[in-house]
Chain length 215, copies 2
């Protein structure tokens, strides 16, 4: 468990970069975890790599989070919470313009690297690893489905929320991960204008107004 | 480069499982590549692993496909072609029911493990690796955009095809990779019924009929 590339040190000589527990250690570990999982993906990330980035002993990571799974879930909760905490405001008048508001809110998160990166790390990890997928499922279920579904009506409300999520996540995948043109470089307001009516339709059943076909 | 678990053999005694070049070798390599990339993802797959599965020498893989990138692209082309070769028939009357036809066609591919697995391998690889993403981009551009876009009208037809693709790929991701409920277990005809109008709207601008909200 020693880090290779470290200069040799004598017994009792404090490690230059190994900072002990103390104020901010937990937060530093979570930030380090965001980078580690973001750059390496769940499978290749390690508690040791996170500890090294946070300049703490790996045992401290285990102390706070028990396991790689634990630190992944905590890091994703901390970093993804803003993206999933849909303002209650949106849900009060779901029937009118929830599609527009929700789509705009989601792109507000995606369009900033600081909030986009942890989400991309989550998506990358979840498509490749069953543990990460289970954590992703729990987060969507707790944070999105349990919040949005009650504002809607109909027996298949949960399924329809997921199809709206699928439209948004699929677009994000093509735009930010696959970088397929023209969606990768499309103006974000243009994307919101195209997607909001579809999200509204999924959630409430209200159809978009017809688009002129030969514009 | 020897395979462990092999019985020892004397000099000059042919390896039981090392089949030389010959009829079917190229096809066997492509089948092996499908399994290797499917199970290990692009990053962790290797030419050696593919050769071992195909029971050929790694040099034969290099001979046919030059590189890991080459064998990946060829394997994906072979295995994904049926999923991307949208029947020309669909496109003749794009304005009427292309959404329904295309959605049904895509789920026909996804719902069978034999055709689903290579697509999932492609998606998994493309979200994690830039080389695989570039190959995915080329395939979507050549096989989907160049075929579907000319059947549509409007200056943003390519973008709209991609947003339809995003809806379908996003749904597939949640259903088959993330396995989020209820979309993971939803009846496929129910999914097609929900998604076809959205695909139709993206492609042609024709809005769905309103859905009863308190069904």
């Amino acid at each position: 468990m020693t880090e290779s590339g470290e200069p040799r040190r004598g017994r009792g000589r404090p490690r230059r970069d190994a900072v002990e527990d103390g104020p901010g250690a937990r937060e530093r570990i979570l930030l380090a975890a965001r980078s580690e999982f973001g750059e390496r993906g769940y499978d290749r990330a390690s508690v040791r790599g996170i500890a090294k980035r946070a300049k703490v002993d790996p045992s401290l990571v285990h102390h706070y989070f028990a396991s790689k799974e634990g630190v992944f879930e905590a890091a994703m909760e901390v970093n993804i919470a803003p993206a999933m905490d849909i303002p209650q405001l949106f849900l009060a008048d779901a029937q009118t313009d929830i599609g527009e508001r929700l789509t705009r809110f989601v792109f507000g998160i995606w369009e900033h690297a600081l909030t986009r990166e942890p989400l991309l790390a989550m998506v990358r990890s979840a498509v490749n690893n069953e543990t990460a997928a289970a954590i992703f499922r729990r987060m969507i279920t707790r944070r999105v489905l349990k919040r949005v579904t009650p504002a809607l009506s109909g027996p298949d409300a949960e399924l329809r929320v997921e199809l709206a999520v699928a439209q948004l996540v699929g677009t994000a995948m093509l735009r930010y991960l696959i970088k397929l043109e023209p969606v990768a470089s499309a103006d974000v307001d243009e994307l919101i204008a195209q997607l909001a009516p579809v999200v509204q339709y999924h959630l409430t059943g209200t159809p978009p107004t017809p688009r002129t076909q030969n514009a």
